[in-house]
């Protein structure tokens, strides 16, 4: 059975999301809604990973939650990114950078989403009701983040592209 493989794919995608959300939050600190929402969505990704860990024990996949990156990690590099954001915040270029970053985030969400779909099909075939329930709840959370990237890109694009 290769269900463990599908679980690892979901784990990697959600870990990548959590890490990317942290980087984006620091980079766009002057866009206050992005700064705060990436923190919220990172917490959502952690919740997904924790649920997955509880349901996937018997599939022998390493799902130590402490692997997940912490919210807006502190440290010299993070501080540098935040300060750069605050200084660059007064110029139009960050708008373009924000669009590019949101698009990249959207694609990471799409990858995580399709991984949850695959795992859900596997859980159904394996008749693992517990895992299926986790997939159902977590996938809907991942889709929330993905929809936010679409809404936020729609908000940002006209101002950036017509300037």
């Amino acid at each position: 059975m290769k269900l463990g493989l599908a679980i690892a794919e979901v784990r990697d995608a959600e870990l990548a999301l959590a890490e990317r959300l942290g980087v984006l939050g620091e980079r766009h600190k002057a866009d206050h809604d992005v700064y705060h929402l990436t923190e919220t969505l990172q917490r959502v990704a952690h919740g997904n990973l924790a649920r997955l860990a509880s349901a996937a024990e018997r599939y022998d996949v390493d799902l130590d939650p402490s692997d997940a990156p912490t919210e807006h990690p502190a440290g010299p590099l993070a501080t540098l990114r935040e300060k750069t954001s605050e200084l660059l915040g007064r110029r139009p270029e960050p708008g373009l950078l924000l669009l590019r970053d949101l698009r990249e985030l959207h694609l990471l969400y799409a990858e995580a989403s399709i991984n949850w779909v695959m795992l859900g099909q596997g859980a159904q075939a394996a008749r693992d009701a517990n895992l299926l329930e986790v997939v159902f709840r977590s996938h809907s959370q991942t889709l929330r983040g993905m929809k936010w990237t679409v809404t936020r890109i729609k908000v940002a694009a006209p101002q950036v592209l017509l300037d």
């Binding site: 809604d33 919220t40 960050p94 929809k147 101002q159």
Partner: protein
């Protein structure tokens, strides 16, 4: 918009009857953006405000008794308000100012005719009615003549949802709704899938912790808000002697437990500090919840000597807003409160009645002006 001004992609900002320099969160940021040479700032108001003081152009506007127009109450009642007196000096109604602007800018429609084809309040009202025709908030049947015939008239009639018919149908509704956690908009297909016709849709959201929770360094949660004696940034209410004398100056409310722990008493001068800035205010020990310090946001510096910003509550607030309503989070930042000076017999300027009432007798009472008292005898039926 503030963010776009900050980035330099929104260079022209026209403020009408509001005062963002004092009312928006993180005042230092707002000041630096609006005062920037990159932003051309127009302020249109009845009185000089803090924002008007840094504007590139100030347009004096007429007050409600100095112009004709309609207004709609929160219960949908539309009223016509007639001009009673002439505006002072060069002041003109908002409508007259904007029409003059449209004329000078030579705004045209697709046929090359003037974009705005009316110049008075009544035709403006008729033009507005066309904009909301066949929408849930249609003003059909409401005219100046009908409004002058009696009291106000409710748009939509007396009963809005007669026969249990709601505006939820996908082709009728104003909005497909948003995710309460992120503000992401629902697509039409998602909304249709809910089969909303005639139903109310209730959305829930899990608890989300504040972005800046109190900690060891800043142990109190800041809650900014209002007193009933003032409206917004006191542009009008500070000019009403009764209201101004009831609440003449900023204060900070603490619970008895927090005040004792911090060694603060009634009237002590305190420094209140957040990561954004600091203010000074005299302490009132009120019925406010423990762990919270309340500061009214009404007080700026237009009626003070110089540009002393040390009493504007928004020096302290955080730039963050609810993702759906976009309402700033004025009640979720962390602050430290430290005593600066003893009261020395002075009490806090907070009203002794309403929400700021002290928990113990402080020896003074908020009262109306001398000679304004009235005796009313009420007889039991």
């Amino acid at each position: 918009m503030v963010r776009y001004m900050e980035e330099g992609t929104l260079p022209f900002f026209w403020v009408s009857c509001t005062n963002p320099l004092v009312s928006l969160p993180e005042a230092r940021r707002i000041r630096s953006v609006l005062a920037s040479d990159e932003v051309f700032l127009v302020v249109q108001d009845l009185f000089p405000t803090e924002t008007a003081a840094i504007a590139d152009v100030v347009l004096p506007a007429a007050g409600w008794a100095e112009k004709t127009g309609t207004f709609t109450n929160a219960d949908r009642t539309v009223h016509v308000s007639e001009q009673a007196i002439d505006p002072p000096g060069e002041a003109r109604s908002d409508l007259a100012i904007w029409l003059d602007y449209a004329r000078r800018m030579d705004f045209r429609d697709k046929d090359g005719d003037p974009l705005v084809k009316w110049s008075d309040p009544e035709p403006a009202f008729e033009a507005f009615k066309v904009c909301v025709e066949n929408r849930p908030c249609s003003y059909e049947g409401i005219t100046y003549a009908a409004l002058r015939g009696g009291s106000g008239i409710q748009w939509g009639g007396e009963r809005l949802y007669a026969d249990g018919s709601f505006f939820a149908a996908p082709d009728v509704c104003e909005d497909y709704g948003k995710d309460l956690l992120t503000g992401a908009t629902l697509e039409q297909t998602e909304y249709r899938a809910l089969n909303p016709d005639g139903r109310a849709i209730l959305r829930a959201c899990e608890y989300v912790p504040p972005h800046e929770p109190p900690d060891g360094e800043r142990p109190l949660q800041l809650n900014t808000g209002r007193t009933v004696f003032h409206f917004h940034t006191r542009t009008k209410t500070a000019r009403v002697p009764e209201l101004q004398s009831a609440a003449p100056e900023v204060w900070a409310e603490l619970s008895a437990a927090d005040a004792e722990r911090l060694g603060l008493g009634e009237g002590d001068l305190a420094d209140i500090r957040s990561p954004r800035g600091s203010i000074r205010a005299r302490v009132r020990i009120s019925g406010v919840r423990a762990g919270v310090v309340f500061v009214p946001f009404h007080y700026g510096w237009w009626d003070r000597e110089g540009d002393d910003e040390s009493r504007a509550a928004n020096e302290l607030t955080i730039t963050s807003w609810d993702p759906v309503s976009k309402q700033p989070l004025f009640k979720a930042g962390a602050v430290a409160v430290v005593k600066v000076a003893d009261a020395d017999g002075v009490v806090s300027p907070a009203p002794t009645n309403t929400a700021s009432a002290p928990v113990t007798d402080i020896g003074t009472t908020t009262r109306g002006q001398e000679g304004h008292a009235a005796d009313t005898e009420v007889q039991a039926p």
